[in-house]
Amino acid sequence: MKKNALVSILAILLACCVVMGCASALADSQKQRTLTVFNWFDYIDEDVIKMFEQETGIKVTYTNFTTNEEMFVKLEKSAGSYDVIFPSDYIIERMIKEDMLEELDMSKIPNAANLIDWCKSPDYDPEGKYSVAYMWGTVGILYDPDQVDGEIDSWGALFDPQYKYGVFMLDSIRDSFGVCLRYLGYSLNDHSEEALDAVKDLLIQQKNDNIVAGYLVDETKDKMVAGEAAMAVMWSGDAMYAIEENENLRYVIPKEGSNIWIDGMCVLKNSQHKDEAMEFINFLCRPDIAAMNQEYISYCSPIQQVVDGYDEEQLNQPALNPSAETMENCEFFHDITEFMELYESRWMEVRA
């Protein structure tokens, strides 16, 4: 009897599969419009996706990545899987070079006109043909004033041995190297062996001095909120999020200068759903949607109407609205793929 029951359970499960298979086949035959979005982890208000699906009837598969490098690998190795992607500036530069991106049909993205000016024609995509900015931000230090001496204004704090296990570094090659390069007075895009060796020594010294609490990416913001460490290298938006959760925390872009970046939205050349993709990009550029996203993920939106809506407190927040001179002191990453091996081998030495 029991045996029969289990057999019938199996049979039911099998039947479910068949039905499911049919259903999906049916859906395909009805030309259900679909779209696969490949975005950073925790980088959109999920409600926005639901709204998009409701408004357009397009079924969105939403999937995410943690670093630009991971995204690039997955794009390259699983061609045809994705439609809309959200790469950062230097990766866009690389993808344009490698002819991976579809030229955008701006007539389908009228809302791109809402972009603030300096985001309309960034130097990685001077004519704005391949990408529309989604968010921008900076890299700085998020710190807990209770756990540090006075105010922090230099990258040097990251290497101060008094902060025992007090510093979270970013597990992201270019960000971690970039921070050090600026601290040592080099350009963010320097790839001379001399500069990179100096960075490597600095990072190894930092590790050996037991300053590093960990090399993490997304988890740092929560850890900072919980007071797990004195400071962390952090992207401005994550810092904003953390500050909203724990008002005590402060974000600073050190005086040595830092990285400013833009994450764009692009459509892949091998995408099967280009129209849907552009529709999605246009949707995200709608001021009300952009505001929702800005609210949710706390990064700086490049949409003019969103910026206009900032209140006093937001305007005074360096993570959201850095001063003009600070921005002047910041630099974009550029594509240096051919030199990445120099970075990687040194990074592995640091991490090993």
């Binding site: 045996k3 925790d42 988890e219």
Partner: protein, 256 residues
Amino acid sequence: MRKTLRGVYLGLILFFLYSPIAVMIVLSFNASRSRAKWGGFTFDWYVRLTQRSDILQALWVTLTVAVIATVLATIIGTGAAIGIQAMKKRPASLILKVSYLPMTMPDIVTGVSLMLMFVFVNVPLGYWTMVMAHITFDTPYVLFSVLPKLRQTDSNLYEAALDLGCTPMQAVRKVILPEIMPGVITGALLSFTMSLDDFIISYFTSYTDKNLSMVIYSAARKGIEPSIYALSTIMFLVVLALLIVINKRGALENVS
């Protein structure tokens, strides 16, 4: 006295194994987001769970992948066991040795090797590659749960069925299958559990579609959100239920 000491020791081991789980269950009802203080009892995190589309989507992926993989693995694995039983010693032992591979290889190697192949033959890594990977690691579990049962049955059974006028398919369906059913069901349950639980192989063989484990991995990176505790609590109870069923069948110790 001796029994008490031993009981205390086992108690400590259980404490070690369960205190994190207990903490998790308690925190899933904690109104405060902080894990260090109790903010009152709430079901909010469970409600929130039902609103998280990524988790619901992942749940759907996990369940369907597990079901499809289990059904196919059960069919393929049972057939394999029946076939191997009838083979000569050498080819049989060769197949068995190869079958041990996915069971003994570290998951990461299995995952990476499948990923390499899928990429090489240009298959987009998503739902269906995940299904195929799951079938691959599930099937040996079915095979090794069915084989012992098959060995217990009379080896002349199949011949007897043919002798009495069955076609080979009928012989398998009407005579052998009923005999080995307990093994087949055990294998299917094991497969299902393995599929539900898999992270590493899925992580490498699917880029676009994520199962629960992969979402948990992402979530763990983001930081601790009590709705994940709620999810853990539910999954713990599901596994508990599954395991009770498997254990009732006395399968845990028979699978070798």
